[in-house]
Symmetry: C2
Subunit: 363 residues, 2 copies
């Protein structure tokens, strides 16, 4: 730890705190930017993980062509921060939201996913009434079984129908190989992603065979970026978690560093084998498994309750009250969404506090 006076040392931060190592973040952003420079796909990183315009701008300055959002509310936050090219990779439905959608489209270049003609028609109508320009990607279900039309004829038909709408521009296709991103074996993961992207690519060919140009093919996640981003048909990559990473993605052996930690504190030492810290499931989520104790060595989490985690001794030395515990969250996306700000750490000291401006933007 440097002794310069630039900020409070990590160990002096109040706990629990969501900390972001800015050098690791920069490394990850540079790493993915370099990958995309070597491959056909442009990077349009997903903001649902970091929810932070500061990080989105770092990605854009490193070469990203814009951002991807999961929710309209996230897109509004990114547009307010000056980001000009936004994809909402999700279906936006209902009168209230369509009014916001077309309103947003007057302040940025906005693209939205559609998988239903009535929805696309309603968007076109709202855009026409508002005098707004909007683009649409037809979402194709390439194996995940969530949203999207089936590949092949149903997607071809919807693309043609969307293209015929007066005020919604058909811009291309979206397919997310979400079923592939977490396959543990690298070769099986590559193959699952490859098969999924082939469905998207074949659908593009079928649409172009009708004379309709498919500008954009967008998809990909952090676990499959190497396959999806290298596929010659793909020209937009939506990976998001690579920037901060988390315990679950770290298990895949990707070339990105874990930039995110939770700093917690021992608040009770009931026995020499058990310690309780001040961070529970309201600080770090558990749906992808328990967080990992990074330091001190020789302790592991055995249980999360709302505001406590129970640590069990696993060969480590004694823990004292007030001792700092550094943890790797298992799921960055949902953990970040519990916090209002990142404590940005450089070289072991607090360098800045970045608001997680899109936290809680579920609408």
């Amino acid at each position: 730890m440097k002794q310069d006076p630039s900020g409070r040392p990590l160990q002096a931060l109040d706990t629990p705190a969501l900390c972001l190592d800015v050098e690791r973040l920069e490394h990850n952003i540079a790493q993915m930017a370099a990958f995309c420079q070597r491959h056909p796909a442009n990077l349009r990183p997903h903001c649902k993980t970091h929810k932070c315009p500061t990080i989105a701008w770092m990605q854009i300055k490193a070469g990203a062509i814009g951002v991807t959002c999961a929710k309209l509310g996230e897109a509004e936050i990114m547009a307010q921060a000056g980001i000009e090219d936004i994809l909402i990779a999700n279906q936006i439905v209902g009168e209230t939201k369509l009014a916001r959608l077309v309103g947003l489209a007057t302040s940025c270049h906005l693209t939205v996913a559609v998988d239903d003609l009535s929805n696309a028609g309603a968007i076109s109508q709202a855009a026409e009434q508002a005098g707004a320009q909007l683009s649409a990607l037809v979402e194709v279900d390439i194996g995940m079984g969530r949203c999207g039309v089936a590949p092949g004829p149903p997607a071809v038909r919807l693309a043609q129908q969307v293209d015929a709408l007066p005020s919604l521009r058909f811009a291309g296709l979206q397919g997310y190989e979400g079923h592939a991103v977490m396959v543990p074996d690298p070769e099986a993961r590559r193959q699952a992603a490859e098969e999924a992207i082939e469905r998207l690519s074949a659908t593009r060919d079928a649409i172009e065979a009708t004379g309709l140009e498919v500008g954009i093919l967008s998809g990909g996640g952090t676990g499959t970026y190497e396959t999806t981003g290298a596929h010659p048909a793909m020209n937009e990559l939506q990976a998001g978690s690579y920037a901060t990473m988390d315990g679950r993605y770290a298990s895949l052996g990707l070339p990105f560093a874990c930039a995110l930690t939770i700093q917690a504190q021992v608040i009770s030492v009931p026995t020499s084998e058990r310690a309780i810290i001040d961070a529970g499931i309201k600080t770090m989520t558990g749906e992808f498994g328990l967080p990992t104790v990074l330091s001190p060595a020789g302790w592991r989490i055995t249980h999360l309750s709302e505001e406590h985690a129970t640590l069990q001794r696993d060969g480590g030395g004694a823990l004292a009250l007030g001792e700092r515990i550094s943890l790797l969250p298992s799921h960055g996306c949902t953990t970040i969404n519990l916090h209002d700000a990142y404590q940005v750490i450089c070289d072991g000291r607090l360098e800045a506090v970045w608001p997680i401006a899109a936290r809680g933007c579920v609408r």
Copy 2:
């Protein structure tokens, strides 16, 4: 649904929305208040579930003697809302937090849990320097295996040591039978709670045998309130979830109504057997199981992703895009903590919006 113009109908709210049925909430508050009037324990409801001063005040006006909080930050929010008697049922450790703790004690009657002499000594010293009055409950581990000293001699010794501190008043004991609150079988649950409270009661007797008065015995959760709140030794009941309830507590057959729902909307209908809604794990948590579809009938959730839930048809009629889905969250405490406000519903219409002022207060 009444046709009066008092507010937007539930069906017109934008989604996803965390809705709170105010009549059910009032029923629950009245029900628990009536129980406590018939029994020795005073009600000091836990605010970690609702995190909302408006609800805390409703509970106090119905007879609660104050509130219980899990975190210092929650207690600060409640004090700012004018609540005068607050228990932080948790260990508050470290210089930064002790400064806040004694600062808070100048604006309300504040009690804090302790399970360690060095921590209690540090609180006493900070209180002395700040000229603040603070009380402490010695936390006893009555079977949950989280924080707390062991019942019997260790608790007696700590009580005597705390009592000897110059600026921290020993006010009694806290024991939380957290291991008992969710035992499915009512008789087994009653027995587990009874045994736990007996440990607390016996510890009180052992302390009083030394000549030291134990003013308060505090504990209890929504699942065990009938046992804990009726035990002659207990004089404070900390139950919290009863006010809003959730799917997991509802499974215990308690006399409280589920006041909390998530209103969501169908955003994609890929097949007649599957629909996707706009509420996922960032809207309603899953650690206690999947949310329950309340309406329409014949559909159930099979998967939660971050911003989507997948609904599988289970005998129901066809779902259309934009159709409203009403859901019962499985875990109120963590679900509420994802939202900034309750949409307060009366008789099917929006009556008010209540800020969840203590959302995210993990420090």
